[in-house]
Amino acid sequence: MDTFLTFALTGVVLFSLGLQEVLARPGVLRMLIAVNVMGSGTLLFFVSLAHRHADGPDPVPHALALTGIVVTLAATAAGLALARGLHRLRAEGSGGRVEGGRVEGGRSQGAGYERGRSESGRDEQGRADR
């Protein structure tokens, strides 16, 4: 089995594993990890196709994969920022700063988020003291 086939198969396996986890609807952070694993699989598959030439690899997939890596980072950061914004909105909703019930899910999962909010509040207090 040569390098091309080994890593192309690995790429397929990684893509399928990530896809399975995304479809299984895990939490948002786990989903972003899964999307990253899928992305790695895709790029691995693509770049191993570039490795089929005897006198050195094809630079075009390399350049595209390089942009792919950087864009994946940007997409992950944007996704995480959205997730944190949603999380704060819900925490606010259940904490009563926003009129009750305006943020759905704030009520149903109120207890957990309430706890989280006061924890982070205490955290902040602790840091200010230092």
Binding site: T3, Q20, E21, V28, L29, S40, A50, V70, G112
Partner: protein, 315 residues
């Protein structure tokens, strides 16, 4: 007789799959992120095995470092509340397994159709390389043959950083600032690392014209150095005036836009570089891209933790 190379390839491949499985299915989210960071490092090894040093450089900084920082930082805020995540219902899990297995089988079937030897565009790039301003294949594709792709990539990066900063600006809750650690180990380490990172990213930028390296790798590395500095309490990017930061973040896109506008006005094709002076243009573009990539990376990571001044206090 199995060669040593095959053993190495298969070990890297198995390690990748195992680390991916661990990071996807470990119940504890923090452990899962740690596995994901290790996965990024092994990915860098895989790129080396595929003779893609440019990708290995970028992956070592992005996959292993920056994505890990982003995930850990978000997990600290989100997962502290959620704890262990709910396991999905068995129906959902079964369906997802079937779909993923189906896609996997289809991909393997497609892979078996692919001819095991093919040159792709390697010949074409090698033949056209003397016509371009640079001597390194990957850089010539990024900044000459497919400069339009790179133009839009810088635009995507700008959009992502705008998303992060806008969400930040609309937060009503107070944001926990990053711990400004007084640890002597961290500040000592950063003191040693920062100059090395700066010099090495400068080298990568310079090397990009004729060897593995270039704007993205240099920018990502420089950005990682900037994040280290911020973590150690040495504020560089977060101290920049907002207006200056905005301009510097859009430097890459602005450079491309200016260049394509000028070339169009001069009656040439979009991003069709003139023969004379093409090298200067490419190097100037690379510097602009590296600066905005570095600042984008720092803003993406630190942006969620910045305590922005209210608009009226803006300098």
């Amino acid at each position: 007789m199995i060669g040593l190379e095959v053993v190495f390839d298969v070990s890297v491949a198995v390690l990748l799959v195992v680390l991916a499985l661990e990071s996807l299915y470990t119940p504890n989210l923090f452990t899962s992120i740690a596995f994901f960071i290790a996965f990024g490092l092994v990915m860098a090894l895989a790129w080396v095995r595929l003779q893609a040093p440019d990708l290995a450089l970028a992956e070592a900084a992005v996959g292993a470092g920056l994505t890990g920082v982003l995930l850990l930082d978000a997990a600290r805020e989100i997962a502290a509340v959620r704890g262990v995540e709910r396991t999905p219902r068995s129906m959902v899990r079964l369906t997802s397994l079937l779909v993923a297995a189906g896609v996997g089988v289809a991909l393997v079937a497609a892979l078996l159709e692919v001819p095991p030897r093919a040159a792709g565009l390697a010949e074409a790039v090698r033949e056209a390389l003397p016509l371009t301003a640079v001597e390194h294949g990957v850089t010539s594709v990024l900044l000459d043959f497919r400069a339009l792709d790179t133009f839009f990539e810088t635009a995507v990066l700008l959009l992502a950083v705008i998303t992060v900063l806008v969400l930040q600006a609309h937060q009503h809750v107070r944001i926990i600032p990053w711990e400004l650690s007084a640890s002597p180990v961290l500040s000592g380490l950063v003191g040693l690392l920062a100059p090395v990172v700066l010099v090495f990213s400068g080298y990568l930028l310079w090397a990009g014209t004729h060897a593995p390296g270039g704007a993205f790798q240099a920018g990502v590395l420089l950005g990682a150095g900037g994040i280290l500095l911020e973590l150690a309490g040495v504020h560089t990017v977060s101290r920049l005036p907002r207006r200056a930061l905005r301009w510097l973040l859009s430097l890459g896109v602005a450079g491309f836009a200016l260049l394509s506008g000028t070339l169009l006005l001069a009656g040439r094709g979009l991003l069709e570089l003139p023969g004379a002076g093409a090298r200067t243009i490419v190097i100037a573009l690379e510097i602009a891209i590296a600066v905005s990539v570095a600042l984008t990376v720092v803003s993406l990571v630190v942006g969620s933790n910045l305590r922005l001044e209210p608009p009226e206090q803006e300098p």
